[in-house]
Every structure is written in structure tokens, then in C-alpha cells.
């Protein structure tokens, strides 16, 4: 944990000369075959607004070039791994050969905390039909049914879900029909997901399939109104490394009550009850903004974008929630909490900034993290010179106003879009139109997300679905002080002598959300970029290899 304190004179000024981004872009494309270079050229953008104030269009949510060595995973990973992975009391059965279930078993560091020893927790378990060649040839529905029955007999869960892997779609197993039959038979909720790995172009398709499934099969099933003030849902927060626990703590201190979190530390009943909240707050825009839209249309719950990554962003988000509820007591409490939390944060931040200020960061991760984490780096004076998402869409870069203009291609078309209408009984507008308008005139923004580009400096290089080759070149050309991505990228970067922070799983760290999370992150980055170990890469004999012809010490 030791850090060296650098002479302030050696800290690079924030406005130091960086290499010309257009030249770098050319370098990144130079080696590719012509067709690949043309495609990648649309996905590598120098950040700059045109005269009309619009950002250049980025190629995003498009197919990955085969063979390029991508960071991306598949639809199954997005559905079972990301969205349903953090839910503790549903038995999630992977229907397929053993691998998919095995790899998504506990590897994402989602934390959960069942209230008592008697509460269900299946997150430590992996359930699979382990399909064999005979199931591929003769069909796997029979085995799936038997597996659901056995899961019910042994574990007695309140719900069972089924996740389809690649061969399931190809051989035509109807998981939804099996789910309906078993739901009827067992009297518990059973539902399936067609999240075969080949659907869509990345994990993002799987997020969509998962969220649509939860919205269709679970949300709205429990009408109990929680006795509490200021009830919200937290959408798109997955409790990796305990992020959700820290956010829960802060919200509880403010007196804000969480009805459901999608899906960190979540339960079946929370999802079923989600439609009773009075505000949806969206953390990861990419993975869940459509659920917020659907809940507004069906149940009348407005939604706002919030961000609990970064101390200032956390404070801003709390104030935004308070402004929505428009209650002086809540606003006062929020201010008290911020006032109480900030001194320690500022102390650590200022101390860390002395050692990290002026250093360069790069972030290539996720569908929102590469944007949100720039806040934390900014707070300790670090500059993000290049960033991009692994599986985001254009709106996550350019802002939501581009959504109507996004072309729906063949890969997106096969991901179901739900058509949602007002619920005859359960629709209840939480604010009158007049109240909404009043808030808007005060500058309050509903369902607004401006995207990554707005917050990045002019000339920053924005790269969608970055490849291994581009990563290696970026390291050489920018020489960043830290690079953030995922486990597959980690060690190639560290072997290049540059510290690498995982922003999917946080290595073994976290939480990094909220106030305490910010402090953890400042200290972690300080440890990493100022570690002494990078000074030992060369052995003494590599530093001065000259031989002196002596056999002994004098």
C-alpha cells in the first residue's frame, strides 16, 4: 500500500501537449485490411462539436470485426451473468452445455445480503442442464422439464428461470412453452429467456432480453404499497464490490426509500413490487433506460438519470431526487448528509490529488462506467485522454436526442421490443402535468442523458469496441498513467508497465460508488499509479551492463 510522494515539480501540467488525435487515429487504422479500417474509422472519433453543436456520429452497437480480438461477450452473458446474476432467490437454470453456466458462476463479484439465514440465496449455486450430444440430436426440452422439476423438488424456490444458450435456439427447443407448462404444474413463476449467445452484437442484447423478461413476467405482480416516504427504484446498479450497499446507506440516511434495485442485491419480490415506486432513478443508462421508459408508460412513474460514481455526482444526484419530491424536510436532510460526508472526502481527495494531479487515464469498459468513472478521475485531477464503451449504443456517447435517428439494423431487429400501454388499473401518474412542467421550467431534466462526449474534452479520442491491437498502440502513443478495462485486458496492459484497474469487477476492491466509494477509489488509484514497484522493472545489471574485470570487492 506504500506510495512514493513525487516532487511536485515532476507532475505534468494538465494542459500538457498531447499527441494529435487525428494522427493517432490514422496510426490505429494503418495496419488493418482496407474494409476493416473503413469500419473502424466510424468507431474511432475525435471529440469535437460541429457548428450546430452536434457531436460526430459514432459507429456503436454494430458487429464486431471477426478476428480483431474484442473485449465483448455475448447475449447470454448480458442476460444471465449481468442482469439476473445478482438476484438471489430465483433458481437460474442455464439450458445448454456446461460451459456457459460454469463461467457465469460467481465470477462477477455481485454481493448480496439475505436478511436472515432462513432466506433463500442461490447465487452461490450454478444450475445447468449440461446438454449432451443426444439432447442436441433429439431435443433438450424433456431434460429441461425434468431439470426444472428436480430444482423445484430439491430447492423449493419461489421462481425458476431458464436461460437459453446457442444450441438451444438452433435445435428449436421452446423454452417458453416449457416454462408455461412447468409454471402451471408447479404453481410457482417459471419464465424463460431466449438469450442465445449469437443474438445481437454484444452483451447489450442480453441486458435487453433480460429486462424485457423481468418486465413481462415479474414486475407488477405484487401491489403491496410500502409504508415509506420518497420511494424510488434504483435501475442499472449491480452491487459489484458492494456499490449498491453504499448507495443504500446514503439513501437511507437521507430518508429515501428503495423499493427495488435492478438488480444488485435484488429479490424476486422487489421486482414484483417495482411498479409501486414513485420515481425511477437510472444509474447505468445503457442496460436499462428502456425499462424506465416502459414503467413510465405503463405505470406513470417518471424517470431521471442519476450517477453515484464520484462524490460531486453523488451529491448532485441526491439533490436531484430531493428536488423531484419537492419536500423541504427531504432537501434539508440531503444537505445535512452531504455536509456531513464531504469533509473526509475532500481531505483524502486533496491529499491524493497532490500525487495524482495531471496524470492521464484511459477507460474502455461497459456501457456507462467509461463515462461515470471519469468523474472520479477528474476529482483527483486526472485527465481522461481516451475512452470508449464495450457494448454501448450511440445515445450513450452522443446523448439521448439521437435515439429517434438510430438505424435499426438486422442484429437489433431480432431483439424483441415490447409494445407497452397504460395499465388499466395500475397506471397512476406520480406528478400532474402541471407539476412536471413546473419542475421542467426550473431546469429539472426528466429522462435526460447527455452521453459521454458532452463531458469529454475537445480532442479526446473516443473509441467504440476497442481492439487489443488498438489498445497496445494507445499505450505506446499516449503513455497513460492508468488504463481501465476488464480482466481479459488486464495483464497485457500491466506487462506493458502500466497499472491497470478493472472496472467490471474492480479487481478485488470496492465499493467505489457513493461517498465512501469515492474515498476508496482515490486511495486505490493513488496506490496504483504511485506504486514503487514500477521502478524495479530493470535489474541492476540491465541498468548498467558494463562489465568490470574484477573478481572481488575492494
Amino acid at each position: 500500500m506504500s506510495t512514493t510522494i513525487k516532487d511536485p515539480g515532476t507532475i505534468k501540467p494538465a494542459d500538457m501537449d498531447l499527441p494529435d488525435p487525428e494522427t493517432i487515429k490514422k496510426e490505429l487504422l494503418a495496419r488493418y485490411p482496407a474494409k476493416v479500417a473503413r469500419k473502424r474509422s466510424n468507431q474511432i472519433i475525435v471529440n469535437q462539436k460541429d457548428e450546430d453543436g452536434a457531436f460526430p456520429e459514432i459507429g456503436a452497437n454494430v458487429r464486431t470485426v471477426p478476428g480483431i480480438i474484442t473485449q465483448r461477450g455475448c447475449s447470454y452473458a448480458g442476460c444471465k451473468g449481468v442482469i439476473l446474476g445478482p438476484t438471489r432467490d430465483i433458481v437460474n437454470i442455464t439450458h445448454g452445455p456446461i460451459g456457459c453456466g460454469f463461467y457465469s458462476w460467481l465470477t462477477r463479484r455481485n454481493q448480496t445480503r439475505p436478511p436472515t439465514e432462513a432466506d433463500d440465496n442461490f447465487m452461490t449455486y450454478c444450475f445447468s442442464t449440461d446438454m449432451q450430444d443426444k439432447d442436441i440430436v433429439f431435443g433438450g426440452e424433456k431434460k429441461l422439464k425434468a431439470a426444472i422439476q428436480e430444482a423445484y423438488d430439491i430447492f423449493k424456490p419461489k421462481a425458476i428461470s431458464i436461460f437459453s444458450t446457442c444450441p438451444v435456439g438452433l435445435i428449436g427447443d421452446d423454452v417458453h412453452a416449457v416454462a408455461r407448462e412447468m409454471k402451471e404444474k408447479l404453481g410457482i413463476n417459471v419464465f424463460g429467456f431466449s438469450c442465445e449467445g449469437y443474438r445481437g452484437v454484444s452483451q447489450s442484447a442480453g441486458h435487453h432480453i433480460a429486462n424485457n423478461g423481468i418486465f413481462t413476467h415479474v414486475v407488477g405482480k405484487n401491489d403491496t404499497i410500502k409504508e415509506a416516504d420518497f420511494k424510488i427504484n434504483l435501475l442499472g446498479e449491480y452491487n459489484i464490490g458492494g456499490d449498491g450497499f453504499e448507495i443504500d446507506r446514503i439513501l437511507a440516511e437521507c430518508g429515501i426509500s428503495i423499493v427495488s434495485t435492478f438488480s444488485g442485491n435484488s429479490t424476486y419480490d422487489q421486482f414484483a413490487n417495482a411498479h409501486t415506486a414513485d420515481l425511477n432513478t437510472v444509474m447505468c443508462h445503457r442496460s436499462i433506460n428502456y425499462v424506465a421508459d416502459m414503467m413510465e408508460i405503463k405505470y406513470g412513474i417518471p424517470w431521471i438519470k442519476i450517477n453515484f460514481i464520484g462524490a460531486a455526482a453523488t451529491a448532485k444526484s441526491l439533490r436531484k431526487i430531493a428536488q423531484y419530491f419537492d419536500d423541504p424536510k427531504l432537501s434539508k436532510k440531503v444537505e445535512e448528509v452531504i455536509e456531513k460526508e464531504m469533509p473526509e472526502i475532500e481531505m483524502v481527495r486533496d491529499e491524493v490529488k497532490k500525487r495524482c494531479g495531471g496524470k492521464l487515464a484511459m477507460l474502455f469498459v461497459g456501457g456507462s462506467r467509461a463515462h461515470h468513472y471519469q468523474e472520479l478521475f477528474k476529482e483527483i485531477g486526472m485527465k481522461t485522454v481516451s475512452a470508449g464503451y464495450e457494448f454501448a449504443h450511440r445515445d450513450d456517447y452522443e446523448g439521448r436526442e439521437v435515439i429517434p435517428g438510430i438505424k435499426v439494423d438486422a442484429d437489433s431487429r431480432n431483439i424483441e421490443e415490447l409494445s407497452v400501454e397504460k395499465d388499466g388499473e395500475k397506471y397512476n401518474p406520480r406528478k400532474t402535468e402541471k407539476e412536471m412542467d413546473t419542475l421542467k421550467t426550473k431546469g429539472f431534466e426528466f429522462k435526460d442523458y447527455k452521453g459521454m462526449m458532452e463531458d469529454m474534452e475537445k480532442g479526446a479520442l473516443i473509441i467504440d469496441d476497442v481492439s487489443q491491437y488498438e489498445t497496445e498502440l494507445l499505450l505506446k502513443l499516449y503513455k497513460p498513467d492508468i488504463y481501465c478495462a476488464g480482466i481479459k485486458e488486464k495483464y497485457a496492459i500491466q506487462k506493458s508497465g502500466i497499472p491497470m484497474k478493472q472496472l467490471h469487477s474492480y479487481d478485488s476492491g470496492g465499493p467505489y460508488a457513493g461517498f465512501r466509494g469515492a474515498v476508496n477509489f482515490y486511495n486505490e488509484i493513488d496506490r496504483m499509479v504511485n506504486s514503487k514497484i514500477w521502478g524495479y522493472l530493470k535489474a541492476p545489471w540491465q541498468i548498467s551492463p558494463e562489465l568490470s574485470a574484477k573478481y572481488g570487492w575492494e
Binding site: Y103, K488, K495
Partner: protein, 458 residues
Amino acid sequence: MLLRHTHTEILPREALTVNPAKTCQPVGAMYASLGIHNCLPHSHGSQGCCAYHRSALTRHYREPVMAATSSFTEGSSVFGGQANLIQAIDNIFTTYDPDIIAVHTTCLSETIGDDLYQITNKAVKEGKVPPGKHVFHANTPSYVGSHVTGFANMTKAMALYFSKSTGVHNGRFNIIPGYVEPSDMSEIKRLAREMGIRPILFPDTSDVLNGPQTGKYKMFPQGGTPLEDLVSTGDSMGTIALGPLASADAARALDGKWHVPCRVEDLPIGLSATDRFIDALRKAAGVSVPDSITRERGQLLDIITDMHQYFYQKKVALAGDPDHLIPLVEFLVQIDMMPIHIVTGTSGKAFEKQIQALTAHLPCKVNVKAGGDMFMLHQWIKNDPVDLLMANTYGKYMAKDDDIPFVRFGFPILDRVGHSYFPTTCYRGGMRLLEKILDVLLDRMDRDAPEERFELVM
């Protein structure tokens, strides 16, 4: 409790696997491909397979694991993955410049029936494979066998694709090390060399997946079996295949194709299996065993005699792969431990028979299952508790719940270091295994000892 739904009552289970003790073929194939010098593994399927396999191997080794994917979409799943693979081959050679691309299939490309011979031939005809470069493949359907099968299939594929015979012996000996760690591969090479044998070890992940920190990243590190060595395997004097499941197919393929005589031995885990390996090498190569190796054997034996009291009649539960478990059970029985619950996820009746034969003399019931899972193992443990658990990292959930001394062994190990640097095979590896077992057993005695019986000297 972490595994709070695992109870003693064992209900019948035919269709549902819970907490698997295996994973799928392609990850084993990817691992084997990394053991060829200047080779990039390629996964012909959806992106997720490649991402998962790279992640699993990266977490286990804490090393870069590079591999490419055909990135199937719904369209390619319907029309076939030919266009994707040919494009991938072009991009890989242009961008990353390996000498070899080792393609393995997935459940997706196997289910739709992509013909990899035809596709790679087409890539060659279209000039996408530069002169002197190679693309070869192994069929590794995920719905057959396990990660061990995938390793075996890729190892066999590399032997069949590259080996040639000039008709003149090269004076060398093929050793197929099996699905073991880079450290084990180094150790096996070291012993062979110490016996004066020049081995061709394939695949060989040493110096690939246990590389140094130098500040300079190289996508293709110095290790891996060189191409010319793979070609030369057809001219070797013989082949020793370690681990029947992982290595026998490749050895027999070389025998069938080039008449390179082969011998299949257990993985050299523990005393007797290592004895058999060394003796087989000695006889096959016609060399004598140097004193240095006999001394290592004696050191292993010395630890056993010195510490026998701590091993004696301790009950052990094991999960792992058949090639590892058979010599491990033999070793544990030899030192008078009692392996009573043994599970592997990989199917095969021969495994159960062999384990039953090895444990037949034990004075207690022994549970063994091939094609079983860790849930089953845990239920057995709950019914008949053990003094020691040896399994991959997933075992730690059982170990914590039931407070069992735990030694990490097998794949994957996600929460400790050491396995890539320090072997558990051969005599020194046996010593390391005993050290690890003793550490957890004696720590437990220390932890639980009443103060008056807390021992300084043990």
C-alpha cells in the same frame, strides 16, 4: 451459510447439474493452443465463448490470454460461419502476425455443422493464409466430454496437422504432458533433460502462462512448442503420454500415422505415478536414472516417513479431473490417508472402477462418481464428514460452510497464486502437495488445540 440449500437428504437427480465439477471442451482446446509458440487460438462461435474462456484462463494464470473469435451473429448461425472465419483469418494474420492460428469449434458451430477443413482450405486458396503460416483446427463440441476432452482433441489435432516423418530418427523423445500447469510442464522437461533425454514437449505452456514482468508486453512470448519441434514429432524415437484422457489420443495418432511407438502413463502425481513415469522414460530411451533424481525421490519419501502420523487415517474429499484424481488417490492411499468422497464432472465408467480398485482396502465406504458434481460431493461430505477437502477454488464455499481444511488443486484456481510457478507433479511436486496438505492440517490442529495441548514442536 454460503451453500445454505445443500442438505444431507440426497434426492434423485437425473437432469439437473448443480455446481459442476467440469467445464466445456473449448477452454481446454484454447489452453492447449497457447502451448504452441507464436500461435493465436481462435474460437469459432459466438463472442461470448471466447470471452468466457479467456476470462477463465486469465483469472487462473493472472497472465495475458489472447485469442480471437468468429463473432457469430444470428445471420452466421443461419447461413454458416464460413465468411466470419475467413475474414477472421485475414484480420488475424494482417493485424497480429502469428505463425499459426489454432481454431477450435464450439457448440454453436458444431450444431450448425460448419466444415472446418473446407473453410480453412478456402482461406488458403483465397490467399488469406500467408506463405509459411498455418491454420489448423480441432472439433471441440461443448456437449461432448469436458475441458479435458477439448485439451485432448486440440493436442491430437496439432500432432496430426504438423507432424512429418523424414524416415530418419531425430534422436528425441515426445512427451505429452497432459492438462497440467506451466510449472508442471517445466518440471517434466527438467527431469527428462536430467536423464539425458532431449524431449519434445507438446503442448508446452511454460514461459507462456507464467511469464515475467518486464515492462514490455509481447503477444507471443518466448515459450510454447516451436513449430519445427511439432513437425519433428513424427521422427521421434517414441512418445510418452501423461494422463490417458488428455494425452493418449495424440500419442496414438502419432503411432498410427508415423509408427512412433507410444506409452500411456498416469500423470506423475505422487510417488508411484512418478516412479512409473521415470521408469518408462528410462526404459524407452535406454538411459539410466541419475542419482539426482533418485535423491529427489528419497526426499519425498522422507517427508512421508517424517510426517506419517498426521496423514494416517485422515478422511479426504476430492473433486477434479480423472487424469489428476487417479494418481492423487493412489498417492493419498499410499501415505495412509483415506479418500472417501471422489467426484469428477467428466463422465467415464473406467474412472469409477479404477478409484474403487485403489480404495478397495479402506475400512470405510467410498463414494465415487464420474459425471457427478460438487453439490453431490457436498452432500456426501455432510453425511460423512472429512478432515481435508481438495478441489478447485469453488471448493472454498464448502470448506467455509463446513469448516474443512482446504487445499486448492485443479482448475480453476481463482483466488491464490503459485500453481503456475510451482509444480504439483513429479517428486518435487509431490513434496509441495504434502507441504500444502500438512500446512492446512497442522494449522487446524493449532487452531483447535486447547492451550495446554498447544504444541511448539509438531
